[in-house]
């Protein structure tokens, strides 16, 4: 597992929202839930490679902006077709007012 990587200030991500985070040639999606906790998944939908950060956070789910497939962003589980393959998830935390992820 890599070191913690700084993403952004925590208040740059609204609660129940998502942002895109690019690192090392890869793209990730970083979320905050309704309690303000941070989460991180791969940034592209496993169905058609669309950026999830343009989608909609619905409680614990992220809905893909192109085909309305859904994943649980805390577990990565695919919940609604056409999404069938789970997302990879990564540890995330808020430390000193900053969101950090391990990828």
């Amino acid at each position: 597992m890599s070191d913690w990587i700084d993403v952004c200030a925590a208040d740059e991500v609204e609660e129940e929202d998502v942002i895109r985070f690019d690192h090392g040639g890869r793209t990730f999606a970083v979320y905050r839930d309704e309690d303000g906790a941070a989460f991180c998944t791969d940034g592209l939908c496993t169905h058609e490679q669309v950026h999830l950060a343009e989608g909609l956070v619905l409680e614990d789910e992220i809905e893909c902006p192109k085909h309305n497939g859904r994943f649980n962003y805390k577990t990565g589980a695919a919940l609604r077709t056409p999404a069938c393959v789970a997302l990879a998830t990564y540890p995330a935390r808020i430390e000193g007012g900053r969101i950090q992820v391990q990828i």
Binding site: E48, Q49, R80
Partner: protein, 361 residues
Amino acid sequence: MDGGARDYSLTGPDGARAVEIGLASAEWYHTDVPRKTMKGLMKRTDGPATRDTLIWLMLLILSAAGGIALWGSWWAVPFFAVYGVLYGSACDSRWHECGHGTAFKTQWKNDWVYVLASFMVLRNPTAWRWSHARHHTDTIIVGRDPEIAFMRPPDIARKALAFIGIPDVFVHFGILLRQAVSGPNAEEADYIPTSEVPKVKFWARLFVAIHLAAGLTALMTWSILPLMLIGGPRIYGAWHMVMVGLLQHGGLAEDVLDHRLNSRTVHMNPVSRWLYWNMNYHVEHHMFPMVPYHALPKLHEVIKDDLPPANPSIPHAYKEMIAAVLRQRTEPNYCAPRSLPEGAKPFRAGFHDRTALPEAG
């Protein structure tokens, strides 16, 4: 460029070419909308769809009851005229919106209305969910999109017959029959995962069985009344669905990566908009399929300065579409010209070498 008929099958050379040159699963043009604004537009709520669905179901029941009560007299005709459109036309937009999962906030409501509307419109709910996902991935990309209504050169007589459900309804029932027996064919297997095949067969068998039961009841009672209520409206009430549905992409560009070129937004009367659940805002829907139908008018106001001007009415849009489609009989590569307001971002045609594209105006 040969200018002749193209191969619209999903297993043919045009599809392979689309994949080869990067037209398939490509990145499409989107108007820039601030994230906060888009979040507001995407917000889910149960209210509008619950209201509209209750009105829809109530009108279905009332018009059916009136038709049954007055069966045998001419007074039944207006009741079945209403019932037919509510069943055979409104089904398409309910199928569509609930298939996207955006109409209701509560998912079981989306799923129930989706299955009911799929039955009415004679579409397999599993197969068509995947078909529509592909339609959004590769909108009007030849050889990739299974939902292209106007193929070139266009078969205008066939499209005219679709207004009375012919041959459309028989084709769709035949597809359900085949899926009930043998599942997806090679074309459908191009976009339906193998894991979904049991569900495809289940729904096909259920839908076929209900329609056969209605037909059997009609035979046993020696009355067409059962078929006026089940299945028949897909013929005599489909005209509104066809009328508005053909405008979505008819006469516009193939093989482009910008919905402003291949989709049409039409302002229409409130009744048609209610039956159609605002899918007249079709450029907006394709660009942002996350936005529920009830928020599309607001989305239109936000992005209209980046879109071609909407057609002001259904007759206006038909005049434009028919002129283009008639011309496509001899010039299959022609498409209706689109222009953009001053200050809009230029069209993103991309990879295009077959269709005569208009310049941004």
